[in-house]
Assembly symmetry: C2
Homo-oligomer: 209 residues x 2
């Protein structure tokens, strides 16, 4: 069964167990999806309201993007769980001869790089969610402004969770150039997300001060 | 239908719509529940492992507390949605005479105070989750340490979301002493949570440096 077809209760309880799936990466993708959903909710509570008519094109565009991000992040819940299958399969390869050992090592290294793709995409999607929240500040239903802040926060938690997963896989990768490049990318992504999140939070706080 | 009986996909999609429920408060409670579930997962991946035998009593105690927090936070998903029903009902009271107007105003004020109870509890529960994460640092399965950090982050996002809901309701309450007291409580809760979260994050980062 696809993880997103589980009930909220069952998903949470399974996450809490020592079962291999869902794991932290899937929880991160769900957090990002909840963030995108809150942004979408804010758009839906704004569209068609006369007071915000001048921002209608932006809001509709944000709604479309948020809807697409929800879809991607919900898919990420499952993908993240599948991502590690390749690593496990590679570890199961024969290692009787030197040739087999070399092929196995190479396959393991390749599998770890492949396993990074899913959390990497989740992290990027979460950053997009925070961008959307920032873009909607003062241009969407004020009554739902706090949901922009909460949505951005949810997405940030998702981003951090996804990056933790990238981080763990990187620790097993021997290609130093690749690892260094990914680490730089991660630092920049987190820095950008943190700056945006702070802007959203302080802007929303100021609205209600 | 109880919101936690919805599938993960349906819940997220409904959250994204302009339907009144689930709203941001329910998303916050779910985020807290996911955080508690990650802490529980870490405990379940530690219990019975010889390497961590000396911490077994702490881990078992944390597991019990996390399990109870999951239950409470999952209930919070529904409660938060119901919390506002009283406010809506009070607004629907008759207001033809001065006596009716006075009774209605009083009922509205009382209903707002009642509506605060659910997000207030969610925020407290989320803080407990972060406390559990901190307590398990260096005393639980190192392979799952990043899940402690992600769990704490999820709980922090839940706490912030819940406090936003308290904040919104406070804005409608005229009892200045009550409002001031709640604001002080909120500030202290958030400060404590932020300090704990930073400790968890920097401690986990240092483990993998």
């Amino acid at each position: 069964m696809n993880l997103t077809d589980m009930t909220v209760k069952a998903f949470t309880e399974k996450l809490a167990s020592d079962a291999p799936a869902p794991g932290g990466g899937s929880a991160a993708a769900l957090s990002g999806a909840l963030g995108a959903a809150l942004i979408s909710m804010v758009c839906n509570l704004t569209v068609g309201k006369e007071k915000y008519a001048e921002f209608e094109p932006l809001v509709k565009d944000s709604l479309e993007k948020a809807t697409s991000l929800i879809k991607n992040l919900l898919e990420g819940i499952q993908k993240d769980t599948n991502a590690f299958d390749g690593v496990i399969a590679a570890f199961g390869m024969p290692k009787a001869t030197d040739a087999e050992k070399a092929a196995r090592s190479e396959a393991i290294q390749k599998a770890y790089k492949t396993a990074i793709l899913s959390p990497e995409t989740t992290a990027k999607d979460c950053l997009e969610v925070i961008h959307l929240a920032k873009g909607l500040l003062h241009k969407s239903n004020k009554n739902a402004a706090s949901d922009l802040a909460v949505g951005a926060m949810q997405a940030f938690a998702g981003l951090k969770g996804a990056l933790e997963n990238v981080h763990i896989n990187l620790a097993a990768i021997k290609d130093e150039g690749y690892v260094a490049e990914k680490r730089t990318w991660m630092d920049e992504l987190e820095k950008e997300a943190k700056t945006l999140l702070k802007e959203v939070q302080s802007s929303v706080s100021a609205m209600f001060a």
